[in-house]
Subunit: 81 residues, 2 copies
């Protein structure tokens, strides 16, 4: 998967999980300790975040990196079928 | 997990898996398309790599991000027990 595609899918997944948790982008940004403009650009797939930031995001969504990327990579497989 | 700790564990895991595959650091760097000095610093836990780079590393090790972080987070749990 190209880096741009990974960033796009990561962002889409974060947005979906955040909404499922019922957090506004503002609440979530505060929770994860990142600026809302940054979180917004992550969700739009414009950031190739570091694993440290991805881990903070995963924990703020009460999940793990393994689970997050598991879901992301499953969706990728489905998309490529 | 602090970002420094995550980078350290990620680097240790990459080094171990690379050696299990029988790749020298030079071979592996070529395979993943990164400079050897960069790969060396990743393995020493000095880099908080982006998810795009982590994905390239995972694929060069014939694995996935989900599997890599699954192993990393299992080890973390064990360490914290």
């Amino acid at each position: 998967m190209a880096e741009e595609e990974l960033a796009k899918r990561f962002g889409e997944l974060v947005r979906r999980l955040r909404r499922e948790k019922g957090y506004s982008q503002e609440d979530f940004s505060f929770r994860v300790g990142l600026h809302q403009t940054y979180v917004s650009s992550v969700e739009r797939g414009e950031r190739n975040v570091t694993i440290g930031t991805a881990d903070r995001i995963a924990r703020a969504l009460d999940t793990t990196l393994a689970s997050l990327f598991g879901e992301l990579e499953r969706r990728t497989d489905e998309g490529e079928r």
